[in-house]
């Protein structure tokens, strides 16, 4: 069984009085350890796909099985637990809490998971070391560069040992040099066995992935292995 299984997923919003069909029957299957890029222009439905994969949103119809668990019918609260336990988010805007230190940000998912304090701190320090910020754990986001902030955000995503890393335009707010560093870090994580899904409009970023799924107007128009890799 695949780790992520989309069966005829649709998503319809009501915008004003007009229904907007963001996804029109998507079938997708992602195995454990895959590195997938979901590509598309803005309005293609790729963000909606990411929200559904990340359990931030529920499909209008269809079935979504995540790690052998049907999640389309879960309550808001159960989805929060799934997000906490199974998914690590990496956002374009980093989305760190500005008043907290790097370590405090990283351990936040563990706090919500109910992990004991000593365990939280040792795990937080471990993942911060893993992303190369072992010496910056007491810094606040404003005292860190963009690349370092994104590393903190990756460390936070890793903290609760998720099944999937879900990155939404992870380099969108970074210069090309720093972007390359971040993509290298993601490559390392994939090499370590992590399942990674990157959502992007940037072909160069997508080219790092081993499989590229192209989305347009709410349907998948192509799904192929990346020949470059």
């Amino acid at each position: 069984m695949a780790l992520i299984e989309f069966k005829e997923i649709t998503k319809t919003y009501i915008l004003g009085s007009e229904p907007v069909h963001a996804l029109k029957g998507v079938n997708l299957s992602i195995e454990q350890g895959e590195y997938v890029a979901i590509m598309g222009t803005s309005g293609s439905g790729k963000s909606t796909m990411m929200h559904i994969i990340g359990c931030l949103d529920k499909p209008s119809s269809g079935q979504y099985v995540l790690d052998n668990q049907a999640v389309q019918d879960l309550s808001e609260d159960d989805l929060a637990v799934v997000r906490n336990q199974a998914i690590g988010f990496i956002f374009q805007q980093f989305n760190l809490l500005p008043q907290m230190t790097a370590l405090q940000n990283v351990v936040l998912p563990l706090t919500y998971a109910g992990v004991a304090k000593a365990e939280r701190i040792s795990r937080g320090e471990e993942v911060l070391k893993q992303v190369g910020l072992g010496d910056r754990i007491g810094h606040k986001p404003t005292q860190l560069s963009g690349g370092q902030q994104q590393r903190v955000s990756i460390a936070r995503a890793l903290a609760n040992r998720p099944k999937i890393l879900l990155a939404d335009e992870p380099t969108g707010a970074l210069d090309s040099h720093t972007a390359a560093d971040i993509m290298k870090l993601i490559d390392e994580l994939v090499a370590g066995g992590m399942t990674v899904v990157v959502v992007t409009h940037d072909a160069e970023i997508a080219s790092n992935a081993r499989r590229i799924v192209r989305v347009k107007d709410g349907v998948i128009i192509s799904d192929q292995a990346n020949s470059a890799n």
Binding site: V81, L96, L97, Q99, T111, Y112
Partner: protein, 410 residues
């Protein structure tokens, strides 16, 4: 996730917005402190009244004539001339629950001393008056039964009268004064008593009842020796009701008051009179309490207002927390605890400020203030309740936010 974790998260929210938190707390401080101070003032007023009851003697019973209504116009209580000196003697000798009686006849007359004069209440009474009213001389002495028996032309003055007709350094004891043109010797000066409901205790001159009848009021044994009131002391506070009952019976019998003829006298106990005064202070306390309660309510709305602003301002933060797995109750708890910490801090500081304020009012305004443990306890729990009540709505708003929308917020 434990309670301490939730408190830690809420606390972080508070110190991240120090200035705003302090201003919010200030609203509660003012509310709680005013509750404490105003209730302390109300309680002080109540205690003051109780002290007055004690000082006047709570065993005290007044008997006054009833009212007469010529041509159906009531002239008011005491207008009938039905109470006599013989009634007073009868009450004193027959009623077992009565320990002492003093008949009183009073009228306004002019009092003169070396060119100064004042018009004051001349109270003709018996020596027992002092003990019954718990009202004694500070200088000289009160008149005795011997003075009464000998129709002595002596008087005892209230300190208000002394201040009116004697010089500052002059000792009135032994001096002569003219009352309604008649010569009297001052025997003593009464202690300062202040105002009680219905009369000024210090603006009075006391003379023996017998002397009063003979030289001032022009009534004698032949006219039946009418009295204006009879002061009665019950043997103890517990026997006041019994005494009242016995007096009623004695007087009904003497005055032949039987249905359909109503009583031609009125009996009032000191306790009843003070209860009336006390009900005034209770209204006063209620009024003060209500005012304070309103300011507390405003403080509570302040908390809700700030919490709503805070939720709006921190929409993105809430989105982030939800995205990484914060559950509904965890977000809800964060904001409720935040509101409760604010209101509790305001409550505790407000109680301290209130204690200080009550002490200050007591020492500066010379009012009796009394902070009761109950008002402190009440304020404490009210402040917790305010946080809870006014925190729930904003917290719900936060917890219900859609994570995707919240993450998009700037």
């Amino acid at each position: 996730m434990g309670f301490t974790e939730l408190v830690a998260i809420a606390w972080q929210g508070i110190i991240d917005n120090r200035m705003r938190s302090m201003l919010t707390v200030l609203g509660i401080i003012i509310g709680i402190a005013s509750v404490i101070v105003l209730l302390a003032i109300g309680q002080g007023a109540k205690l003051e009244t109780q002290k007055q009851i004690q000082s006047l003697g709570s065993n005290l019973i007044y008997i006054r004539p009833g009212s007469v209504s010529p041509s159906s116009v009531s002239l008011g209580q005491g207008s009938a001339a039905t109470l006599t000196y013989a009634d007073s003697v009868a009450v004193g000798t027959i009623c077992p629950a009565v320990s002492d009686v003093a008949a009183v006849y009073n009228s306004m007359f002019q009092v003169q001393h070396s060119g100064m004069n004042t018009s004051t209440s001349i109270v003709a009474t018996e020596p027992a008056y002092c003990d019954i009213r718990n009202f004694h001389t500070v200088k000289g002495r009160f008149f005795t039964q011997a003075d009464c028996d000998s129709y002595a032309r002596v008087c005892v003055m209230g300190d208000g009268v002394v201040a009116n007709i004697f010089g500052e350094d002059e000792d009135p004891v032994g001096k002569s004064v003219l009352i309604r043109g008649e010569l009297f010797t001052v025997l003593g000066v009464m202690e300062h008593k202040g105002m009680t409901p219905y009369n000024d205790n210090d603006d009075q001159v006391f003379v023996p009842l017998t002397t009063g009848y003979n030289t001032l009021f022009g009534s004698n044994a032949a006219t039946g020796r009418i009295v204006k009131s009879i002061l009665v002391q019950a043997k103890s506070e517990d026997e006041v009701t019994q005494a009242e009952f016995q007096i009623t019976n004695v007087l009904r019998q003497r005055h032949k008051c039987m249905p359909p003829i109503g009583d031609d006298f009125v009996i009032r106990t000191q306790v009843e009179i003070m209860q009336a005064a006390q009900s005034v202070t209770e209204v006063f306390t209620l009024l003060l309490g209500t005012t304070a309660g309103i300011s507390l309510l405003v403080g509570g709305i302040g908390i809700m207002n700030i919490m709503l602003v805070s939720v709006t301002e921190r929409t993105r933060e809430i989105g982030i927390r939800k995205a990484i797995g914060a559950r509904y109750y965890q977000i809800m708890a964060q904001f409720i605890i935040e509101a409760m910490v604010l209101s509790l801090a305001g409550g505790v500081i407000g109680i301290l400020v209130g204690l200080l304020g009550a002490a200050l009012v007591g020492s500066l305004a010379k009012w009796t203030t009394e902070v009761t443990p109950l008002s402190v306890l009440l304020s404490f729990f009210v402040s917790i309740a305010i946080g809870l009540f006014f925190g729930i709505y904003p917290a719900r708003q936060a917890a219900r936010l859609d994570p995707i929308t919240a993450l998009r917020a700037e």
